[in-house]
Symmetry: C2
Subunit: 244 residues, 2 copies
């Protein structure tokens, strides 16, 4: 029963499900329904907004997906505790990031070959110990300043032609995105000193604090690659945001 005119009056939240969502979000932000509190049932919202239950259900389902409410069948909908603050961290391709800043990206390739895998590496990549894996060691520069040392091992089964690329023109990340079906990624971030080799390649002091990201990516059943990304401290900042 919403006339087109009334839509024109409030274009910000034309869709009924969005209106319901916005109303609930605003209430949560305002501190009505403190964490754990029982929120209105679907039936109540149906009556309040004069929409169908499916519409209300969609609003609540999306709030649940966003982690703002918790729902239990047979019990009700509750304001989420908000405890585990999960943030979205975007790891962009370095080339895009540098060019995005209007600077020039240059890559220096130090290693690009197949090597027999040691036991630990073979286990991590899920290949037989001693079998050949691809290895690249590349230093990325932003306007002549070393920004990242990228030491990467690739499972040949996932990207057989990996080594044929010219890594001064395309980054390993880009290659792997294009040739494999990424399924899962796992990473850890820590601060540490670079290895002697890394310090030399990055042209920093051996004691320079570095941000070290170890990242493993997988298809559904196999490991694609494991990479160690070393950034000189102060030259790199990971940034993230979280908004409900």
């Amino acid at each position: 029963m919403v006339s087109p005119e009334s839509r024109a009056v409030e274009p910000a939240a034309a869709a009924p499900y969005a209106r319901v969502k916005r109303h609930l979000k605003a209430g949560l932000a305002a501190g009505r329904w403190p964490p754990g509190a029982l929120m209105p049932s679907e039936a109540e919202l149906v009556a309040e907004f004069g929409v169908s239950r499916m519409t209300v259900n969609r609003a609540l389902r999306e709030l649940q997906a966003e982690g703002l409410v918790a729902r239990t069948q047979g019990v009700g909908t509750f304001a989420a505790p908000l405890h585990p603050v999960s943030s979205t961290l975007t790891i962009r391709d370095l080339h895009e990031e540098i060019e995005g800043r209007g600077h020039r990206h240059r890559a220096q390739v130090h290693v690009q070959r197949a090597e027999p895998a040691g036991a630990a590496l073979a286990a991590q990549l899920g290949v037989a110990a001693g079998s050949a894996v691809f290895h690249t060691l590349i230093v990325h520069f932003e306007d002549e300043l070393a920004l990242q040392c990228e030491d990467r091992y690739v499972n040949p089964a996932c990207s057989p032609r990996y080594l044929e690329n010219d890594f001064t023109r395309i980054t390993p990340t880009q290659v792997l995105f294009r040739t494999t079906a990424l399924w899962r990624a796992q990473y850890s971030i820590q601060a540490a000193r670079p290895t002697a080799q890394e310090a030399r390649l990055l042209r920093v002091a051996a004691a320079e604090p570095c941000l070290i990201i170890v990242r493993r990516t997988f298809t559904r059943d196999a490991a694609i690659t494991i990479g160690r990304l070393v950034h000189p401290g102060g030259r790199y900042l990971l940034e993230g945001q979280f908004a409900p």
Copy 2:
């Protein structure tokens, strides 16, 4: 037309929308529909699975929310480029994290008072320069090993009774979660040397690489708090996962 018996045979994906979703996810993982490829339309999936359009629509909408497909009205559904690999990074409350490992958490409170805010800090917290803000400086130990130095400023308007807490018993994070309606968080992560004071408090060498997280949280319109969390390198590892 799915009989109850056929459900019993495959309990893993009883719900039709989940079956459609699973089918599409599997196809994406298998490399059918490479990034950018046009995927089946809603009408085609309706015919293929013998379900209603709303059901198919829900499956596709959820895949879109998960970043696996991109949809454009009037055009179609496409396999997502997968380019911006966003990962979910969970910053847990330190107390829970330590206890979760079966260790003991102890907090040493060095500063707990109101202070006049300098210009820069006042601007970040959105208060008048020189007005009082709450300041806590706390070192967190895991079994007598310093794990984090937490230097935090709090907007008094958001948590007026902040200073009344016993921070050896409850962490600032917990207090703020309970007393404010968190709305948005923004953080940056980098590797650097600790300040002289931080090194002393953490009992590490001045040159020890540290993982430094600067985190600001906001309600909808005001800044709640800004915190600088310093972790001695090697004693802390941020971990994250990304799975479609």
